[in-house]
Subunit: 189 residues, 2 copies
Amino acid sequence: MAPKTKITKEMIVDSAIEITRKEGIDAVNARRIGAELGCSLQPVYYQFGTMDALREAVIARAKEIYNAYINESKKAEEKRFKVVGEQYVLFAIREKQLFRLLFMRNANHRLHEMEIIDENTDYILSELQERYSLTLDQAKKIHFETWVATHGIASMIATDYMTFTPDQISELLSDFFVGLLMKHTWEEK
Amino acid sequence: MAPKTKITKEMIVDSAIEITRKEGIDAVNARRIGAELGCSLQPVYYQFGTMDALREAVIARAKEIYNAYINESKKAEEKRFKVVGEQYVLFAIREKQLFRLLFMRNANHRLHEMEIIDENTDYILSELQERYSLTLDQAKKIHFETWVATHGIASMIATDYMTFTPDQISELLSDFFVGLLMKHTWEEK
DNA sequence: TCCTTTATATATCATATGATATATATCATG
DNA sequence: CATGATATATATCATATGATATATAAAGGA
């Protein structure tokens, strides 16, 4: 029989995620992981075959971490939409490099991560419709546009392009949402 | 005397900008530029000393290209604010990689590029104040928040995270602005 | 025409990193 | 406890790229 595995895939991904958190995914390489785990570069190639495979695993792990943020919103019985936005921005604040990895690189793995938001979308859209007496189209438009603006905040934060206090963020999200709500409910009257 | 220069700094930066446009600034290296210009790597090191110096020059050139977009807005006698937003997004559409270079990397050279917007800011703020009867604080807030949302559109486009038709962009910008205008003029009444 | 200067080419070095080949040590099972 | 399987270490290769040293050739002035 074979010696038992000392360095698991999980340990390698853990290490790669830590490196990514500190310096971005481009700083991840087999020798560096070896250095962090106190082993050679072999376990990485043994477990993943190629660095690209490891990077995919890092992206998958980053998505899990992201999903944990978004799933927090499901605990909210009301104003879930607001909570999703707050969690999206919180992820950008706390996990700048992971945010950049998932949402500021080329689009490949893009629409998939939004699955979670999409799971939530039905709930959110009906909550918006009910709470503010909106048509589905109105709710969809407000939802989408608020999300674009929220992405603006989050991506500014993730690149240190701008910093915001929690109060500023809260105010921004609120201003975007309320503004768009007013804009899109105005024309009927 | 010396032979006359065949490969100027300008030619090198031109070439580096073209490479950046196609593949991003990380794809720029001395040998590659040599290949594009039909020379060796020497002229690059001779003219710039280090690759970092060349990259700085590329960033400076990218800023010039960006400024040309923003300066277009100065031709507008009215609704200059809208035109700035449109030009910002247009820059992201036409110059994805340059947009990412200037606005989606770590913050170092950030606030500087905004100089041009800042030059414009006084004009824009007073136009907003006059046209919509706003206080300076209202105008500033609407200006800032619209800009954050506009950055959201632009950065989504620059990463192919999402695509928009010109009409959609125009509608988004308008919705953001009008919404924020309504939001921030509501409370007085 | 020769000489000096210098722009460019060629060759080379150093380092980083993906990847593989080979050696070695470990471990359960017969 | 000997054996086969394999997880890891070590060594090595290939390539990319920043950088430098040396050679070469062009250009104009003496």
